[in-house]
Structure formats: C-alpha cells, structure tokens
Symmetry: C2
Subunit: 329 residues, 2 copies
C-alpha cells in the first residue's frame, strides 16, 4: 500500500523544513531559505517518494533524493527568474529583486551544489544510477531554458521545436523525479523507463494545459491574469499554431497584434487579448491544443499500464495525474 498524496506531501514539507543551512555567509544562505520557504506544489519531491513506494521502497529512504529534486527545481526557478527579470515568484519578491542579481547567481549556484550533496546522500545500491539520471536531467533543463531564451529572439519557431523545448525545460524533471524514486527502490529498467516516459508525457501535457488556461482559463481558478502570454507575445503552442494556420485576414491581424507595436496607440491590453483569442477561436486552435494534450496524456496512461505493478499499486499516481490535469474521471 502506498501512502496518499496528502501523507507524502506532509512528509515532504516536514523534510524541507528540516533542511539545514549554515548561518554564515548570510547573503548566501538566507536567499536559499527564503526561496525554499516560498511554497509551491512540491510536485517533484512527491513524485520521487510516490514512485519509491510504488516499487516497495520505504518513503523515508527517498527523502534525500526528493529534497535534491526540490532544491534543484527551486535553483532553476531562481536563475530563470533572474534571466527573465521577473520581479515576483509566488506573489513574493524574487531573490535578485529582494537582494541583488549577484546574490541570486551565487545562492542559486549554492543550491545546485546542495542538491548534488542531497542526491549523493541516498542510501541505495542504485544511488549511482539515480545520480546519473539527476545530472543528465539537470543538463537537459539547462538546454530547455536556453532554447526558451533563443526562441524569444527568433522569428519562426516550429511546433515540434516548441514541444521539444517544454519537454526539456519542464517535463524531463517530472519524468526524472519518478524514475529516480523507482530506481532507488530497485525497480527494473523497463519499469524505470516507462515511468520516466509517463512523467515526460504528463509534464508536456501539463505545460500545454497551462498554455490553454492562460488564454481560456477561468481567472479565479487559474490564479493569475488571463492573457499574460498573449500580452508578452509569448511563443506558446497556441500562437505558433495560429501563425502556421492563419491565412489572409487572420494572418494580417496576428501580425498587427503580435509582430507590430502600433496596436497600443489606439487599443487597450484587454482588446489585444480579446482579438488574439478570437483569432484562436476562428482557427480552432484551442481544439488542436486540447487534442495534442489528450494525445500526450494517453501516451502517459499507456506507459503506466505497462508497469509490472498491480492496478492498486498505481492508483495514487493515477489520481495525482488526473488531479494535475484537472480531470474529474
């Protein structure tokens, strides 16, 4: 029997709380404590522990690896926010904003060191494999962030390029969290691979859902302003597909709202969001995005079905996946 998501989350939160950092130098360690205290869904460490339990491991044994993944994830957020010049994260000042860019660079570096120390603290005959997964994933996350920055400067980005970017930047770490947990518990190679593929496909679907909700979501439920991606001219699945499909008038309009900068002379931000949204609707972009999302989700489910585990052993993970994808079935 695996623990419930709530039980695991409780364990994870406690472990984060117990993470220790020296007091000095304050400017190195205080931003780390601050970042880890900002909260978040703690999805990745929960996946590590859950996968570990699914393959018969004891949840406590997975905690160092779970912490490694969470500290690593928060390190990437810290550096990404600096690179993106974002002033806020989870409603609070980002580290470079509250302290300085220099402190954000260095405390981020120290978080990465800490995450490596944590993963190497695991006690398992398979810790070497877990470390390899962790490090190759870390490199892929760097690649994903670089592509994301590159895409901002590029005129044309294809949908496959975009999907590959979000796979690297977001999805592989979800896959890695699961496969690290399973590996440490001694799962066999095929199960580890299937669990990894499940996580990567689910993570990519999850990012597409985020793209869709940013435009079509319920503002209250979504928790942030709808249309943010449109206002930032962000090259999401929706926008890239719209540029691919749009002809004549729609294409002209897209250029006016996205590529040009004259719209703001006579129009409000709200009008821009509404206009682009209506182009998406004309072109059936939402349906396409949902179709792609469903496709990825189906692949993910299929990989779960292939695990050498009973239906009962995968129940909690299935529930969690449904919950993440906001599905009721």
């Amino acid at each position: 029997m695996t623990s419930s998501v709530e039980q695991i989350l409780h364990l994870v939160e406690e472990a984060i709380h117990r993470l220790e950092f020296p007091n000095q130098p304050t400017n190195l360690y205080e931003p780390i404590r601050y970042t880890l205290g900002l909260g978040g869904k703690r999805m990745r460490p929960v996946l590590v522990v859950l996968a570990h339990e699914m393959f018969g491991g004891n949840s406590a044994d997975a905690i160092p690896a779970a912490m490694a993944v969470e500290v690593f994830h928060n390190f990437t957020l810290l550096h990404d926010d600096l690179m993106d010049k974002a002033p806020l994260r989870r409603g609070k000042s980002t580290v470079h904003h509250k302290w300085s860019p220099e402190i954000a660079i260095l405390s981020g570096d120290a978080m990465f060191v800490k995450s490596c120390q944590l993963i190497s603290q695991c006690r398992s005959a398979r810790k070497e494999s877990a470390l390899q997964i962790f490090l190759s994933t870390a490199m892929e996350v760097c690649e994903g962030q670089q592509y994301d920055m590159d895409f901002e400067q590029m005129d044309t980005v294809t949908v496959p390029q975009y999907l590959d970017m979000i796979r690297l930047k977001t999805a592989v770490l979800l896959g890695a969290s699961l496969s690290i947990g399973a590996t440490l518990a001694g799962a066999d190679e095929r199960d580890v691979q299937n669990l990894y593929d499940f996580g990567v496909n689910l993570g990519t679907a999850f990012q597409l859902q985020d793209d869709i909700l940013d435009v079509f979501g319920d503002e209250e439920k979504f928790g942030k302003q709808v249309g943010g991606d449109i206002l930032a001219n962000k090259k999401t699945f929706l926008l890239l597909r719209a540029f691919e499909k749009a002809k004549v008038e729609d294409l002209e309009n897209l250029h006016f709202w996205i590529r040009g900068n004259t719209w703001s002379e006579k129009h409000t931000a709200q009008e821009k969001v509404a206009a682009v949204k209506s182009i998406y609707t004309n072109l059936g972009i939402r349906e396409e995005a949902e179709h792609k999302m469903d496709e990825l989700y189906s692949i993910a489910e299929d990989r779960l079905d292939q695990l050498h585990l009973s239906a009962e052993q995968t129940t909690v993970l299935r529930q969690l996946a449904n919950q993440l994808m906001e599905r009721q079935h």
Copy 2:
C-alpha cells in the same frame, strides 16, 4: 616514478581538448568551449593527476576528476566575472560581455553540471569520497565568493576574515584537487588530510604573493598593471594591515587616498599608487605580508614532510610549489 609537470600538463591539455559538448543549443555550449579554450595554467587538474601518481595511481585514471576540477574552476571564473562585471579574462572578452549576462549564467550552470558528471565518471573504489570532497569544496568556494562580495560593502574587515575568505575562495580548491587525486589512488586518510592542508596553505600563500606582487611586483614579470588593487581600493592583506597599523598622519593619508574620493581632483592614478605604496613601506607592511606568506609556506612544507612517501615521490610536487611561489631554492 611520477611524471614531470610538463608531461602531466601535456596530458591535461589533451584531455581538455578531447572534452565533448553537443552542438545544440549553440548559445549554451559555445560559451563553454570558448571558456575552456581561454587557457590558463591548468594548475588544479595538474595537481589532481600528480597527487594520483604520487600514491601509485595511473595518470589516465585521474583524468575525469582532473577535468571535473578544471571545468568547475572555469565555471566559477565565468560566474565571478559576471558578478564582478569584468570585461576581460586572460586578455579576451568574458562570456557575459561577448554573449550576454543570461547566457553567462546558464552556460556557467551547465559547466557545473558537466563537472559533476565528470567527477562521477571516475572509476575507483573511492569515487564516493572524491565526490564528497568535490561537493563540499564547491560549497566553500561559493561561500568565499560571497564573503569577497560582502567585504566590498563593509567598512572594516579584519585580517583573519580576509585570510578565511581567500582560503575559501581560492585555496580550498587547490587542497581539494590534491586530496581528490590521492583519494582516488587509495591514499590513507592522514595522507589525504596532510596533502589537503598542504594545498590550502600553499594556496593561501600564493594569494598573498599575488597581493604583494600587485603592489611591489615587476610589471613585466607580473603580466598585469602594478597597483590595480590600490586603484580599486581592494581590501587586500596589505591594505587591511595598513589600516590596522596606521596612526595619525599615515591613517589620515590612507583615508584621503582610499576612503575619500577627492584625491582625483588634483592627483593622477600613478600618484595614488605611489602614495599608498609609500605608506605600506613606512609601516613595514610588505615585510609583514612576506612573513605571513613564509609562515603559510612553512606549514605547507611541513605537511608534505609528514606524508608516508619517500622524498623522491614528493620531488615533483615540491618543485611545482617552489615554481608557483617563484622561489629559486
């Protein structure tokens, strides 16, 4: 018989040349290739290989660890240059200057990932210990850089604080390079510790020498403009000791040249360097710095004497240390 420094250096340069990075994303990997191609003394990887050979290891087996240390060192230079806003490194554009700050952050991060991958590629029964030394040293280097940045903003820094900062920022990685090499070759714990202490004391002495040469060095031999630290009001051993020792007129003069900013109205940079230099001479600061340097060097030599190795086995390391300290004996 250990190889000569020249032989090891040749091996190290070849190995750096053989390091492989993917082509894509170009903006992530090209700055890494560029940074590693800038040259440098390759002191740290040479120390890894040399220590490995001293304890009977095969030089080829130490190469992944040697590369780990060199890639890590270059990662710290890359991020430090960004934090210090330095436009040049080894006479060439720094990465943040040639590309962008964002690219410098991310390619630095990727270099650190690569260095962890390299250290974990070592084949040795003791690789776990080597990894632990590597990671705890990495954390200390971050601490050292943070103290260095903190000191710039502080009015008073004590000499022990300064020595601790240069120990963390510079010296521990020299100690770690030696102890990682020795550990992988199976050296016993006391030898590893003595070799580490040798490296840390030598590294601290080396940094003091750099402080002295910056003021009293022969410009041609030193390879950079003499007086740079004075012009930057850098809190070196010399300046900190001068502030501690100076009284009445000397103290007033120090405040005029270092703490105030009115000197530039009537004086040239050369006059500032000459004035501070003459205060150092009045106060006998150079002698003090040289005395401290000799003291550290003696401790280093003592640790070397304590190794369970023949005089012959430590000859090359002794020569290298003398060479670094520009000694003729």
